[in-house]
């Protein structure tokens, strides 16, 4: 009897914990977003969607994700390929590549602030080379696109490492014989990458893309560090409604929007990158 019950006993703490701190709060968010003192209502959503910032906020978040994630995918593939090809110094290079994995988004924002601020390193270089005469105020509302670029750079810099780690471990699982066979049939390096590596990497690509896309929708501290509230994003607006505007219901409505696009993108990647039956290694 204890033998049968053992696995359930071992799972019990984790299950209870996730029920109390994961499922319950999400139900709460859903309830909050549809409630008012008078009962069920769509008012939080109306307040949210009719607010002038909502359209820009949603657009900024989706655009940032749509630019950041593909860049990260390409860079991570390049880094992973380099790492798997390396013979000497592999460990050192690998450690350097994975450093940003341990950094918080706030730290990344501050690091890129050092580069982009008015008396920062970019201005020092530009003035030193004589490209501009006086330091430029990059991170002001007049230069919204520079803030945008800075956020993209900071996010690509920080979060490419996690994609790379997932892809490197995925590449390690591809049998060498497949490459040898492809080589026998005359496939060059590029063709081997396209016809062997990429298809075999499908499960890892799926995991990496899902994780990264969800995280990209949650972009927050980087944007605050670099642009304050000049560049509104969903997570920042959620925070804003919760504290500055003191309306928890609208904050919950924002949270549901983030949740909805996260789930939509997860389902999208699950479907597009599904592994055909019987095709696992």
């Amino acid at each position: 009897m204890p033998q049968r019950a053992l696995p359930y006993l071992l799972l019990l703490p984790a299950t209870l914990f996730l029920l109390v701190f994961f499922l319950y709060p999400f139900l709460q968010i859903a309830i909050l977003a549809f409630s008012s003192p008078e009962g069920f209502t769509l008012k939080p959503f109306q307040t949210m969607t009719t607010h002038w910032k909502f359209g820009t906020t949603l657009w900024n978040t989706i655009l940032l994700t749509a630019i950041i994630v593909p860049i990260q995918l390409v860079m991570a593939l390049a880094m992973a390929t380099i790492v798997t090809k390396l013979k000497t110094g592999r460990n050192a290079i690998l450690y350097i590549f994975t450093i940003p994995l341990g950094l918080s988004d706030l730290a990344a924002g501050i690091i890129w602030l050092a580069i982009f601020e008015q008396s920062g390193f970019l201005n020092s270089v530009l003035v030193g080379l004589g490209i501009v005469e006086r330091p430029v105020l990059f991170l002001g509302y007049q230069n919204l696109w520079v803030i945008f670029v800075a956020v993209i750079l900071a996010e690509v810099w920080r979060a490419t490492a996690i994609v790379m780690v997932i892809l490197v471990s995925g590449m390690g699982l591809i049998p060498k014989e497949y490459y040898e066979a492809a080589e026998v049939f005359g496939a060059g390096p590029w063709k081997r990458f396209l016809k062997v590596t990429l298809p075999m990497l499908r499960p890892s690509l799926q995991t990496a893309l899902i994780l990264r896309t969800i995280a990209a929708f949650e972009v927050f501290a980087v944007v605050v560090a670099l642009g304050g509230t000049t560049l509104p994003v969903l997570m920042g607006e959620t925070f804003n409604w919760q504290f500055a505007l003191n309306d928890r219901n609208v904050a919950a409505a924002y949270a549901l929007v983030i949740l909805a696009i996260s789930i939509a993108s997860t389902l999208f990647f699950l479907r597009v990158l599904r592994t055909p039956k019987g095709a696992t290694i």
Binding site: Y8, F21, Y95, I110, G120, I166, I210, F217
Partner: protein, 282 residues
């Protein structure tokens, strides 16, 4: 004559190889610089005096003035925020391994009805923007008296870390052949003894690595920390809150304080990063 012989040598192939090799090395160096230079620039700013940090133009070599760091550590609330960050991260580490590791062990060693459902629950957490949990939990914590406490925040961070803890410990336990345990049973150990004497020593480094990973998750988390703490701010919450008002040298010293432990942690767990993800993919 000699010109002709040189031309006869199949030079193109060698050239293509050399060019490819050069491109490969250049790309590697560039990517390393891309990662390292921004961190170096932060270090330069941290090791400069406050006047230099707000001065212009910047130099690429720090003056090794500890004025900024002294200002940062002397600033009201910083030391406490640092301490809070450490306490929350340690609590998160203990809770997530204490709760996650048994689940990981169960998933790797037993076949039982409901296993798929549990895995689904864990995987589902990945599809949700978890820091948002802090919003409703803030209300719940006020009701039970956990508001603005390090424990309350640690509970939320544990929710962030548990999916990783379960999947990572699952992959670590799966790497230990069950035959080792079975051998211990036949030699007279009971299940617990076999676990203690055979499995535990083997998995300890891996478990430590995933504990450090949990620590890093908590150490770096910004949103939930800012939502849930008011008086007991962690370092990230403190820095975020003071971003719009604090002088530049405070921000950079704070950023460096966030980065330094992370560098050490990643170095400590570097061997396990790939083992963790290789099987977590499945």
């Amino acid at each position: 004559m000699s010109v002709a012989t040189v031309a006869d040598v199949p030079r193109p192939v060698a050239e293509v190889n050399a060019a490819g090799k050069f491109l490969f090395i250049a790309g590697t160096v560039l990517l390393c610089a891309w990662v390292l230079v921004p961190i170096y620039l932060l270090v330069v700013n941290t090791l400069s005096s406050p006047q230099e940090v707000s001065g212009f133009p910047k130099t690429a070599i720090p003056s090794f003035d500890f004025g900024s760091l002294q200002f940062f550590l002397g600033f009201a609330g910083v030391v406490r925020a640092l301490w809070n960050s450490v306490v929350v991260a340690v609590l998160t580490m203990i809770l997530s391994i204490g709760i996650g590791a048994p689940a990981g062990y169960a998933l790797s060693r037993f076949e039982f009805p409901g296993k798929a459902t549990f895995r689904m629950l864990v995987l589902m957490t990945r599809a949700f923007p978890l820091p948002l949990l802090a919003l409703p939990l803030a209300v719940m914590f006020i009701r039970v008296g956990l508001d603005d406490t390090v424990l309350g925040l640690a509970l939320v961070h544990t929710t962030l870390a548990i999916p990783f803890a379960v999947l990572i410990t699952f992959s670590i336990f799966s790497g230990i052949p069950i035959e080792l345990e079975e051998a211990a049973w036949t030699l007279g150990c009971n299940r617990l003894q076999a676990f203690q004497k055979v499995v535990l020593p083997l998995v300890l480094p891996g478990i430590t690595a995933s504990a450090i990973f949990a620590f890093t998750i908590s150490w770096n988390e910004v949103f939930a920390a800012s939502v849930l703490t008011v008086e007991n701010r962690t370092l990230t919450a403190f820095l975020l809150q003071s971003l719009s008002v604090s002088p530049m040298h405070l921000k950079f010293a704070g950023g460096a304080a966030l980065v330094l432990p992370a560098l050490i942690f990643i170095f400590a767990v570097r061997k396990y990063l790939f083992a963790m993800w290789g099987i977590a993919n499945r």
